[in-house]
């Protein structure tokens, strides 16, 4: 929980007149928590370094006393944890956790406003912590007295220690900050540039950094290095977005003249124009074309500004959505100008439509493989149970789920069934991509050929679940492994369910990159074994039922006793018996089945000559018929597509 960023240290915090006191106090607290200023309350406007300072404080404190129990979190997170503990009735654990902390750093406590319940919990916590000499550090964007609607007792506690503010950096500090940033990032400017930039009154350090970035970008773009006179042109009005009257150590007369001008400007600036101007500055800064708003500025009488701005921002929102949809299909479209011009929404729509039209959604699971038609027995019980968990909570339980087992035991069926169930449960809202590894490879090659790799990737990344059948086919295919690695990570990081099937466990897959293997192993690897007798019986029964045949229990029992290596073999046997029965015009009895499967030699029953007449026995010869096509299901699906 003590997630103070290692970048936040004292040695890279530039000290100036505006923050000297705050830094000294923070240092003192870090060096002996609980002993000096308790609580320490630091406030300042946004972007002046509160978070950096308290981060550095936590960092130094831990460095000096590694065993110190430090908790660093924002008030928001604190409230969230409090609520979670209340709803889980674990308030005791919560209290225990916080009441034993040595250094508690709470960021952004101004959000306390009105949160009575949180306030009373904090009051208790503070009393306990302070009573036992433990340190509390808080930051806020305003002093405690200005946080509205706070319990008086809590307020006195907040204000009871030391309250320091961080002011805006002065000219010299700004130069120091800029120099240090340049050093950090290896930037070089001509002499005078940094000084000129520092002369611009930025309201906070973040804006200053932004301006520096702008200069760096300009310099990187152009051939020539920029000079001091160019600075203001480049930074322009960017630097002056703060509303405050610039603070400076000037004589009274000039200062009061400034204030008067400020008042006069505030009084006389035309509100509607200022608002449009603000909108222009804002959206312009976001990179959108603002010609529409600029034209409105030229009007003699005020237009309906609310409607104008609302319309404009709605158009921008619409553009953003369109851009998102288009880039999901083809990332290269993101740079397109039409997504930046609210007056060209139609063009943007057209472009998005075209992009989407050229885009086919990934192949989903085959509806032929339903979950309810998947028979469960001891040999696959584990896999099925896991599958049901995955269906109920995709992406969270077992991710990735690797199903392995020899050919024909039902991996493809189960994987597709999971996909189908996820689809059903989501009411069709999910997109599930489900492909055989061979298809995946072929698609990739095609995409490389057509130069549509981006689109192909986006397609898989956009899906909500990824199922890859027979993943062992990617062994030895480096490029595919690369791509799968990226797709895998993208899906995994987004919490999307990944299901893989393979004919052997990942650790036995040869020619598979370690980074993929370890990822495959990272979820759950479960085997589907060859069907046991019980399962065989169930499958036989279902198969006969599906063909609307009746098979007596003794037939099923007889068949189930015969060992098979796969479900596919069972289906083949049922096929064969049904065909033979059709040909012979007989019902399926034990003797018939036995004769059929074991041949006339061992069967006492009379040979059924008519069948020989009508059908070449060649076709019924076990030796001549290939029942077990390797991977036939995948091939058939492929053909059907």
């Amino acid at each position: 929980m003590s997630h103070s960023d290692a970048r936040y240290r004292f040695d890279n915090f530039i000290v100036g007149s505006g923050n000297r006191l705050a830094v000294a106090a923070a240092r003192a607290v870090a060096e002996s928590p609980g002993a000096t200023y308790n609580p320490l309350f630091i406030y300042s406007g946004s972007g002046l370094g509160k978070t950096h300072l308290v981060g550095a404080l936590g960092h130094l404190a831990l460095e000096l006393q590694p065993e110190l129990r430090t908790i660093y979190l924002s008030l928001d997170e604190f409230v969230e944890q409090l609520h979670a503990s209340i709803s889980a009735s674990e308030t005791e654990a919560f209290k225990k956790r916080y009441h034993t902390v040595d250094l508690l750093i709470l960021d952004d406590v101004q959000f306390l406003t009105g949160q009575r319940e949180t306030q009373s919990e904090m009051l208790r916590l503070f009393t306990a912590l302070q009573g036992s000499g433990r340190q509390i550090v808080m930051t806020s964007d305003r002093p405690p007295s200005e946080i509205a609607d706070v319990d008086e007792r809590l307020l006195t506690r907040l204000a009871g220690g030391l309250i320091v503010d961080i002011g805006a950096p002065d000219y010299e500090t700004r130069i120091a900050i800029l120099r240090s940033k340049c050093e950090e990032r290896g930037l070089h400017f001509r002499t005078g540039v940094i000084e000129e930039l520092a002369r611009v009154e930025f309201g906070n350090v973040r804006e200053l950094q932004g301006a520096l970035n702008r200069l760096a970008a300009y310099q990187a773009l152009g051939q020539q290095s920029i000079g001091a006179p160019d600075v203001r042109m480049i930074v322009g009005s960017q630097g002056t977005s703060s509303i405050t009257i610039p603070i400076s150590k000037s004589s009274g007369e000039f200062q009061s003249f400034l204030s008067d001008v400020a008042v006069a400007v505030a009084q006389h600036v035309e509100g509607w124009k200022a608002r449009i101007g603000e909108a222009i500055a804002y959206w312009g800064g976001e990179g959108y074309r603002t010609a529409l708003l600029e034209r409105a500025l030229q009007l003699e009488i005020a237009p309906d500004v609310d409607q104008l701005i609302a319309g404009y921002s709605a158009a921008v929102d619409h553009l953003r959505t369109l851009e998102q949809r288009a880039t999901a299909v083809d990332a290269a479209l993101g740079a397109n100008e039409v997504f930046r011009d609210p007056e060209r929404v139609n063009d943007a729509e057209e472009l998005t439509e075209r992009a989407l039209a050229g885009h086919t959604p990934p192949v989903g699971p085959s509806p032929a493989f339903a979950r309810e038609s998947f028979e469960v027995g001891a040999s696959n019980e584990m896999a099925v149970r896991v599958a049901d968990m995955v269906i109920a909570d995709p992406g969270r339980k077992y991710n990735p789920l690797v199903l392995h087992g020899s050919s024909g035991v039902g991996k493809t069926h189960l994987a597709n069934a999971i996909g189908n169930e996820m689809l059903n449960l989501s009411g069709g809202a999910m997109t599930v991509s489900c492909v055989g590894a061979q298809t995946f490879i072929d698609e990739l090659i095609e995409a490389i050929q057509d130069g549509t790799l981006e689109r192909w990737r986006a397609r898989y990344r956009a899906a909500d679940a990824l199922i890859i059948d027979d993943v062992h086919f990617i062994a030895g295919k480096e490029r595919t492994q690369d791509e799968l690695f990226h797709v895998f990570n993208a899906c995994y990081d987004a919490g999307k369910q990944i299901i893989l099937t393979s004919d052997r466990p990942p650790r036995e897959l040869g020619d598979l990159e370690e980074r993929l293997r370890s990822r495959f192993d990272g979820g759950l690897v479960v085997e589907i074994a060859q069907p046991d007798r019980d399962l065989r019986a169930k499958i036989y029964a279902r198969q006969f039922l599906q063909r609307e045949r009746t098979a007596t229990d003794d037939v099923i029992g007889y068949l189930a006793d015969r060992p098979v290596s796969s479900v596919r073999e069972i289906i083949g046997t049922v096929h064969r018996i049904c065909a033979a029965a059709d040909v012979a015009g007989e019902t399926i009895s034990l003797s018939f089945v036995r004769l059929e499967l074991e041949g006339a030699a061992t069967a006492p029953a009379p040979a059924r000559a008519p069948s020989d007449e009508r059908m070449d026995p060649f076709f019924l010869d076990d030796e001549k018929i290939v029942w077990d096509w390797p991977d036939i299901t995948a091939r058939l699906i492929e053909e059907m597509r």
Partner: protein, 223 residues
């Protein structure tokens, strides 16, 4: 500091007025306010002294360069220019440009040029009794020049400063007397001692208020 608009050149004007038909005091889309204020008056009335005093009060970190130009080219330009960058005010990057015109009668062309695009005028009158004629002449000259620029003298923001009020009473005219002689339009007036400061900022404040009032009166500043 780079000069934001530079001195007006012969045949041209400050950059913002050259390209636009109307002179925009405020640019809402770039969020800038630029005020051009011209100190007008007879020679040696204390216009440059006003600027010097203001310059002296500007804090170091926002001091631009005060430019006093005495250039010999095809025609004579002789004036002072003081850029004041007031920083961000109400979200607007605000700049004041203070100019003086040469008071001597023979710099007529320069005066006309400097006056071009002015958002407001401070008339600095010399309170000395013996300078009354020069004051009146210069004041008429101002109106003539404004008219030549097509500026309605009744509408342009104008204040009058009666400078050198610190001089012995027997040398100067009283304010009511000066008012009678000059202020027939009844514009705001200020007594001043520009050399030592009293009245300088009051005058600047007065003209600034008049100029900034025009922010709400439309976009055109000067005509």
């Amino acid at each position: 500091m780079a000069r934001p608009s530079g001195p007006p050149r012969a045949g041209g004007a400050s950059n913002r007025s050259a390209s636009h038909g109307t002179l925009s005091l405020v640019n809402y889309s770039t969020r800038e306010i630029t005020c051009k204020i011209v100190y007008y008056g007879p020679g040696r009335s204390g216009k440059t002294t006003n600027l010097h005093y203001i310059y002296g009060q500007v804090p170091e970190d926002r001091k631009g360069t005060m430019v006093s130009l005495a250039t010999q080219t095809d025609r004579t330009l002789f004036f002072d220019f003081l850029p004041l960058d007031l920083g961000a005010i109400s979200g607007f990057s605000t700049k004041f440009q203070l100019y003086t015109v040469p008071g001597q009668v023979y710099y007529q062309t320069t005066r006309k040029l400097v006056l071009q695009g002015a958002d407001g005028v401070v008339f600095v009158a010399d309170s000395q009794a013996r300078q009354l004629e020069e004051n009146i002449e210069s004041f008429q000259d101002l109106h003539a020049n404004l008219a030549e620029h097509g500026i309605n003298a009744r509408e342009v923001p104008l204040v009058i400063q009666y400078n050198k009020q610190d001089l012995p009473k027997d040398l100067i005219l009283s304010v009511p007397e000066l008012e009678d002689a000059l202020n027939f339009r009844n514009v705001p007036h200020y007594e001043a001692d520009a050399l030592h400061g009293p009245g300088v900022f009051e005058t600047l404040r007065g003209i600034s208020e008049l100029v900034l009032k025009r922010l709400s009166a439309g976009t055109s500043g000067g005509r």
